[in-house]
């Protein structure tokens, strides 16, 4: 099976019903995407499929064949994406476990809505749970990322 992950083509030999998350983590070694609940309830495993946020823990890998898959490692390894810059500037992270998913959801939102309102942010990121409770800073950082031009990439 051929997968296009972060702009690179990978040939993987896995069952078609294997969740994309485990292909990314265990087969391709991209461990930035996290396992949280395993049933699309928490958002820690969020990746992009053709730019749209999906829950990789419940997505059979066969569904992702032929699509552009983007993980947190594909955003900017140097942390230079406006969303990452805003995250660092406002010290959003605490333990950090959910933040890959939060950032992926925020990047997708800004691509769709370059100037989101609080309501847009709550709607788009409401499914991304943070046990540390960083929600206030996440919302502020999404606004900051919008100012930094996060929707243009």
């Amino acid at each position: 099976m051929k997968l296009q992950v972060n702009g690179k083509e990978h040939d993987v030999s896995v069952p078609g019903d294997m969740p994309l998350l485990w292909v990314l983590r265990d087969v391709l070694g991209l461990t930035g995407t996290k396992f949280g609940c395993g049933m699309a309830q928490c958002g820690a495993c969020t990746v992009h499929l053709d730019g749209k946020p999906v829950r990789s823990c419940v997505l059979p890998v066969a569904t992702a064949e032929g699509s552009r898959i983007t993980t947190i490692e594909g955003i900017d390894p140097a942390g230079g994406h406006p969303v990452q810059k805003a995250w660092a500037e406002l010290d959003v992270v605490q333990c950090g476990y959910c933040q890959s998913g939060q950032i992926m959801a925020a990047v997708a939102l800004l691509q769709e809505k370059p100037k989101p309102s609080d309501g847009d942010i709550d709607l788009a990121l409401g499914g991304n749970i943070c046990r540390c409770g960083t929600y206030q800073r996440i919302r502020a950082a999404v606004h900051r990322a919008a100012e930094l031009g996060g929707g243009r990439s």
Binding site: K34, T71, P77, A88, E89, Q94, I103
Partner: protein, 321 residues
């Protein structure tokens, strides 16, 4: 409101006013006593090398004795070291320390994180480590320049004497050879430049790029194989009942042979059953496949009952069967 209210007083008052229950956490007195003694005993055990590493390029790595779980110790504890070290804060990195007696909790005497103790248990220890490292760097520079250490000072990653300056990175290797000062001088809190001021988290860069390594991300190649080896050696891999019966009832000269035959037959059987399950499941579903597998244990039980009725079986379990 006229007098400023302390946090503790606020909590007590608000609990009383609200009629609610306030449970204060106080340390049991033996722990408190040992902490009081610890203050006096902590001084000789200053180990700057356990907490600070200065690279030739001036990067200062501070080893974190506590687990960063979001509470911010990967930033606040390095601040305590850096304040006394007088290094350039922008060159400070933080790494989790390995397991070592150097990092035991000064009160609980084990390497642990919890109970909101991280900052107060290590604050003095870390500042002393930073101050000791600073004095060693100053001593190294003073010896190099042939001037008294008291005429030198450290500032923002340099040791300075008049017009002369030396980078910490240049001095680190020499300083590391020097004796560790037993009672380094701590700064007056009014001179603090880093502590008590806001700082950006040191752990953001790795956590916003997916590089941070969490427990679930740890890969130890060979660990599974090693576990299988231990398992294979330590765990009885066949039916304990059958093996016991065979070893007790067989002619002593053939016990080894009999056990080998029994184990080999057992594994031979699994060769078929394991191969059989996937096609059976596809054909008649899980319920049917498991029902067919249950025939084996059923046959085993029937055989054991039959064995128990034979007069030879009296010898099993030393006659106490």
């Amino acid at each position: 409101m006229n007098a400023p209210l302390s946090r503790r007083a606020f909590l007590t008052h608000s609990a009383l006013a609200g009629g609610g229950l306030l449970i204060g956490l106080s340390l049991p007195s033996p722990v408190r006593r040992s902490f009081a003694q610890e203050g006096a005993a902590a001084a000789p055990a200053i180990k700057p090398n356990a907490f600070v590493r200065i690279a030739p390029d001036d990067t200062v790595t501070i080893f974190l004795k506590h687990s960063e779980m979001g509470q911010g110790v990967a930033t606040s504890l390095p601040m305590a070291v850096a304040e006394e070290l007088e290094c350039d804060w922008s060159r400070v990195r933080c790494e989790h320390a390995p397991a070592s007696p150097d990092y035991v909790h000064t009160v609980y005497r084990m390497q642990m994180t919890g109970g909101s103790t991280s900052t107060w248990e290590s604050f003095d220890q870390l500042r002393l480590a930073g101050a000791a490292a600073r004095e060693m760097l100053i001593a190294a520079a003073a010896a190099q320049w042939g001037v008294p250490a008291s005429a030198c000072r450290a500032e923002n990653g340099f040791v300075i004497h008049g017009e002369r300056r030396a980078r910490f990175g240049e001095l680190a290797a020499t300083a590391a050879q020097l004796p560790v000062p037993t009672s380094p001088k701590l700064k007056d809190p009014k001179d603090w430049k880093i502590l008590g001021k806001p700082a950006h988290r040191l752990d953001s860069p790795e956590k916003i790029t997916g590089r941070a390594e969490f427990g679930i991300d740890v890969k130890r190649p060979g660990l599974l194989t090693a576990l299988c080896f231990v398992w294979g050696f330590a765990v009885v891999a066949d039916s304990a009942q059958f093996s016991a019966a065979v070893s007790e009832l067989t002619d002593p000269r053939y016990v080894g042979t009999a056990l080998t035959i029994q184990t080999s037959l057992g594994f031979l059987l699994t060769l078929f059953t394991i191969r059989m399950v996937p096609p059976l499941r596809d054909w008649i579903g899980w319920h049917g496949a498991l029902a067919i597998l249950a025939l084996g244990p059923a046959f085993g039980i029937w055989s054991m009952r039959r064995l128990r009725r034979l007069p030879e079986a009296e010898k099993m379990a030393g006659g106490r069967r």
